[in-house]
Symmetry: C2
Subunit: 728 residues, 2 copies
């Protein structure tokens, strides 16, 4: 999903993931093999033998509620909490969206609270040339010192309207293609009309995979200024090791201010500051914009991820990490060069391993199976629903089975893996061979990645003046060829062409010694020379790419067809869910405003109990335990001011709210609608929540409202800002 790339994620595990999902091997298949699926076939769920009661909320779907369908009855029953519509409206208007992140209004004069890691671009743009406020921290002493960011805007959700009937009504065609076109143009029309009549930003949100369409109207504020941000060492204390874990000791905050007409904006709906903060057992709500979840994936889809996709991805990570470590050991320059990439891949591995851990957990999967069984039984029991949706799950399972059967081909047929996982030169060769062929076709007939502006982008990427590291290139190519040799049977046609009976090292050596593709001018000559140049080229990379292109195309087309089947049926599953449960179950995350309920609560971990909160004592404890070595080093300012601080002040805390990437910067509010915390991360135990919600050990991690005041008053000595937040 492209949204993943837009999100300002919960720290780097998600950043890395988003980055790397782009770089993962693009794979595809020549033909559906006749072989039996090598892996276990997803079992048909047994039908429930007993009569079904009314459809009820089940925990597995999580608690990311939309503001137009708050689960009032569920809240009342669970917490004895009954907010009126004024409460909900107030909290909604105080909660805002930033590009990729969440935030909230926290003063009558336009102060906006979000995470340090959500404001990085803003902070960088507000920094003078010789200083990076992200590192040094920044406190505007007076209103005149607040510094404009060039990159940030703030979207405030004004209203939500259910437009399902209108969108559905527009879809009258019989063919699927025409239906999609009708739907998309109806959506565009609703958005355009809304924008024209309101001057708001209007967005039709597809919920429940098309079960419901909602029009979201936003007011956008574009004059945003940097007010205060702590040093990175305080905001990201513990660094990469502590990322995605708890106990934590981070002041991951930033204060911005929205201006209108060059003056601080007057805000009515802002969150009042809680004096007491979050206490153990408190009911708290998080209002923010979770990016994406996969909770409506069927059991078969999850099994495919668990047994096929993720193992392949993890093996790819391991292969590259091993190679980069080898390169890093060769020189200090290489070490610097690959350090970040290694870290990013390690973090992605951490994330994928966490997702997979949930899918490998038999208790969690049994809950998912029971949920799916219940849903399917309800669909089957309803004469109106059964014909529309009844076969969706088996259709998906069949397609996943075929994908499983051809997994070796979809994973290994290609022009090497994509960099940084494979050979840059062979990737270019593949593009060079395809560019003339695709250019000759009408847009709709092209391979998907060549449609629209794809062709131009690919051409540009081939012509880029980028040096090729020959040591790394050789390793990547050998590594790819070895994978082919291990993963595909000897009589496989792709393997026969690429390797034949030769050793991977020999093939790589002969390709690399003969090719001229490392030279930008050689590549340009091939692009400029068009089909004739490519067809007559004797460059060994081009010769190879010409031979394998038909096989690669075939596999990719077959894979795309199966993915289309899965996608269409996934929509039916979502719609079935909505038809059965309606808004009793919240829809998958869509990077739009949600409200999730939870409780401030520790959890069992590491053989003991994780406390519900940490304090500044613990922060200094953590720093001194590591002898103040980075990333456990605190800024000098903190060391100097510590005698003035009340070290027993709460710093971070955990709660059971249901969050995911995009929720960074979300406010945590109590029953009175007061701000008690600021979401900034999840923990490893939360990763399985992408697919199935649990709160046994999954927790959201927040900065405490009290820590923010304590730090403003006694570390950053900004009574101005502390007073403004506390309404003094």
């Amino acid at each position: 999903m492209t949204i993943d790339r837009l999100l300002c994620p919960l720290r780097r595990a998600f950043v890395a993931l988003a980055v790397l999902s782009v770089g993962l091997p693009s794979t595809s298949l020549s033909q559906v093999t006749g072989r039996k699926p090598p892996l276990r076939v997803p079992k048909e769920p047994a039908r429930l033998p007993v009569p079904l009661g009314p459809a009820k909320y089940v925990k597995e779907a999580g608690t990311m509620w939309t503001f137009d369908a708050p689960p009032l009855e569920y809240w009342k029953r669970t917490y004895g909490f009954t907010p009126d519509s004024a409460w909900l409206t107030h909290v909604r208007l105080a909660s805002v969206r930033l590009p990729g992140c969440s935030a909230s209004f926290v003063s009558a004069r336009g102060l906006v609270l979000t995470n340090h890691h959500c404001a990085r671009a803003c902070v960088a743009s507000a920094s003078p040339a010789d200083t990076n406020y992200n590192t040094t921290g920044f406190v505007a002493a007076t209103i005149a010192d607040e510094r404009k960011c060039s990159t940030l805007y703030v979207d405030q959700l004004q209203s939500i309207e259910d437009v399902t009937k209108r969108i559905r009504g527009a879809v009258t065609a019989k063919s699927a293609d025409a239906q999609v076109q009708q739907r998309d143009s109806a959506i565009a029309q609703v958005q355009d009309e809304c924008a024209a009549s309101t001057h708001l930003r209007c967005e039709v949100v597809t919920l429940y995979q098309g079960g419901m369409y909602s029009l979201y109207r936003y007011q956008r504020y574009t004059d945003v200024r940097l007010v205060m941000v702590p040093e990175e060492e305080a905001a990201f204390f513990g660094g990469d090791p502590d990322n995605f874990t708890y106990p934590r000791y981070d002041l991951d905050m930033a204060l911005l201010r929205v201006y209108q007409n060059d003056s601080p904006m007057v805000v009515t709906d802002y969150l009042k500051w809680s004096k007491s903060g979050a206490r153990e057992g408190d009911l708290v709500f998080v209002t923010g914009n979770p990016g994406s979840t996969g909770r409506l994936l069927t059991l078969a889809q999850m099994q495919y991820l668990r047994d096929v996709q993720y193992p392949f991805t993890l093996a790819a990570y391991d292969r590259v990490i091993a190679m980069l470590n080898t390169l890093s050991a060769q020189s200090a320059g290489n070490q610097r060069k690959y350090e970040n990439l290694i870290f990013n891949i390690e973090n992605s591995k951490k994330a994928i391993t966490g997702y997979r851990a949930g899918l490998l957990d038999s208790t969690i999967m049994a809950r998912k199976a029971a949920f799916e069984r219940d849903l399917r039984a309800r669909v089957d029991a309803d004469p109106a629903l059964r014909p529309k949706y009844g076969t969706a799950w088996t259709d998906i399972a069949n397609a996943e089975r075929q994908l499983t059967a051809m997994a070796a081909q979809t994973n290994y047929y290609g022009f090497s893996f994509n960099p940084p996982f494979g050979s840059q030169l062979l990737n270019w060769a593949g593009a060079l061979v395809r560019i003339p062929a695709e250019s000759a076709l009408a847009d709709a007939k092209r391979l998907p990645q060549y449609r629209g502006d794809g062709l131009a982008r690919i051409r540009q990427s081939v012509l880029v003046d980028q040096p090729v590291d020959s040591a790394s290139e050789r390793m990547q190519l050998v590594s790819f060829l070895k994978s082919v040799q291990q993963a595909l049977p000897p009589n496989d046609p792709y393997r026969s062409i690429v390797l034949g009976l030769r050793a991977p090292e020999d093939v790589a050596a002969s390709l690399l010694s003969g090719t001229k593709l490392a030279s930008p001018s050689a590549r340009r000559a091939l692009v400029d020379g068009g089909k004739a140049a490519v067809d007559t080229s004797t460059d060994p990379m081009i010769v190879l790419a010409r031979k394998i292109a038909p096989l690669v195309d075939q596999v990719q087309a077959a894979e795309a067809r199966l993915n289309d089947v899965i996608s269409a049926n996934a929509d039916r599953v979502g719609q079935a869910l909505f038809a059965v449960y309606n808004t009793k179950l919240p829809p998958d995350a869509t990077f739009t405003l949600r409200i999730t309920d939870g409780v401030v609560k520790g959890y069992p971990y590491n053989g003991t109990i994780a406390p519900y909160k940490t304090t500044f004592y613990g922060m200094f404890g953590h720093a001194t335990a590591f002898d103040d070595k980075p990333p456990f080093h605190l800024p000098d300012r903190w060391m100097d001011q510590r005698a003035k601080m009340d070290l027993s002040t709460p710093l971070d805390f955990v709660s059971t709210n249901d969050i995911i990437g995009g929720n960074s910067g979300s406010p945590v509010v109590n029953r009175d609608g007061e701000l008690v915390g600021l979401i900034f991360d999840g923990i490893i135990e939360s990763l399985p929540n992408r697919f199935i919600f649990t709160d046994d050990a999954a927790r959201s991690v927040s900065v405490s409202s009290r820590a923010i005041i304590e730090a403003l008053r006694n570390v950053y000595e900004s009574a101005r800002l502390a007073d403004e937040l506390e309404g003094k």
Copy 2:
């Protein structure tokens, strides 16, 4: 092993385990069933195809070295450390043994440092009637205030002599029974001669299961006085939840003093206090008395524990915990009554689960398999060893296979499980039926538990005036009968007698309504009436016990025979190990003085890194994170004094030394023989070390020497003691 019960263990996980191992179901079997073993047969290890190099130290055997065979070459190679014999003698003489624990001399005037939890009995005996110093803490302001303990003595190891030849030489008989007798009397003779000539305490220690015999000579000091002990809240901060975990924040220390002629003893060999304490990466040694390890168990023995014994034990724990929770929910009285027992069982479960986790870890088991393969290959390659030891492993594996085949019978045939896991009344009935029968036999012909003073002890336990809780009794009996129903096939003879076709609840009801055994006088009448009274009794419990006794006896006898086979062959394995590796591998722990090398080092945990140390900041951080609620409550004295403390002082630290229960109170010394720490616990990740040593994440936890000085000076305000320790 009885030693387990004597040990002052590393905290309560071990205490509980020792207690409960006594209470575990005693089980046994009527006959070897003809059924095929239901579980996987241990695989024959493949023989090494390549020539074997010289036998070398392998890490799996750990580092619990004896002082007469220090691995000087290994230390030199690994750490560049080459202690001379003066260093070793000095450290040995400074390291002492307490009942069940370890300790060290730390001043020239007889101060002894050990753990708070090792000095509990001493502290209790030194407390006035109205105060418990274990809880309140105690600091002797002057030498005159030091208070005598009645219960403690200190043993100092004076010398070690290899007496293997003498013991071996005494064994000339052919029959195994006679050999054992010859060996035991040779041991007794060596000990007696030594005691007579030296006035020391002399003990022949069996190492390598008889591969080596060593005479250990101890000086015992019996005038021991309490000098200082912190409050339990500081020593055991974090309580049961944090027990066996890390990071930790405990000042688990006690200072005692040895007196001679009513004056502080003058000590030459005491450990000097390190000023700098333990730093990351430091080589450190722990000198103490590890209680018992099972590293010479064969793979087949470990598999039996993993697949048969431990699962049964864990299921038994779960059954009893569930029952006790039910009882506890019924009244506040019950809750108080069972609280401790539940905790103890939970802790035993934690320990067994940890042991089993190691056995379930394929990497760890692969290391063990490789180690065993190497040892067996060396035995097979040596014409002198092969005939003596070659079959030991397969003999054990065969016996374990038979035990596995009859596991349901050994586990469930009996007079219920032993209390608190089973019915008290049926246990008494079993004893009442057996007492006259066993009394009639010669001692050697009796069941093992009736030999020696066993008969008298069992008679006494039956006659004890102990009330029977009828609710708990009913639950236990029903629970046992249900287990029988579930675990044994319908045609099993024991099950047929006990249950027939009746429901467990009905059988229990009829037994309990008819029996008079809850009355001590009824039991006394049966004991006094002898065989005639038992044979004619119509008490339903007695009638049942009479019927099942022959079956139970048969099973127990068969199980005992197999255990004898395993035990005899385990001795051969130990001797083979010694024959192959000699002292290159340390022997299993024997609660005698060992020196283990290690490094001060954090470890990967919880998705991040555990720091190598904690500080007082962290202690206050932990307390405030839990809102100072017990067991995370600090004594008032600590709260009052904290402004005076340097909170960045190291408190606890971890190292890779190889320790186990019995090592509590051991000193941690640096290359210069200075004291840098005080061992007080292991962590969950250390539990698998009972069987196979690893140091990937297993760590020993110590109190830092610097924490002790900081606390003495600034919390307990005892410059007297701090100065004495620092030699000022």
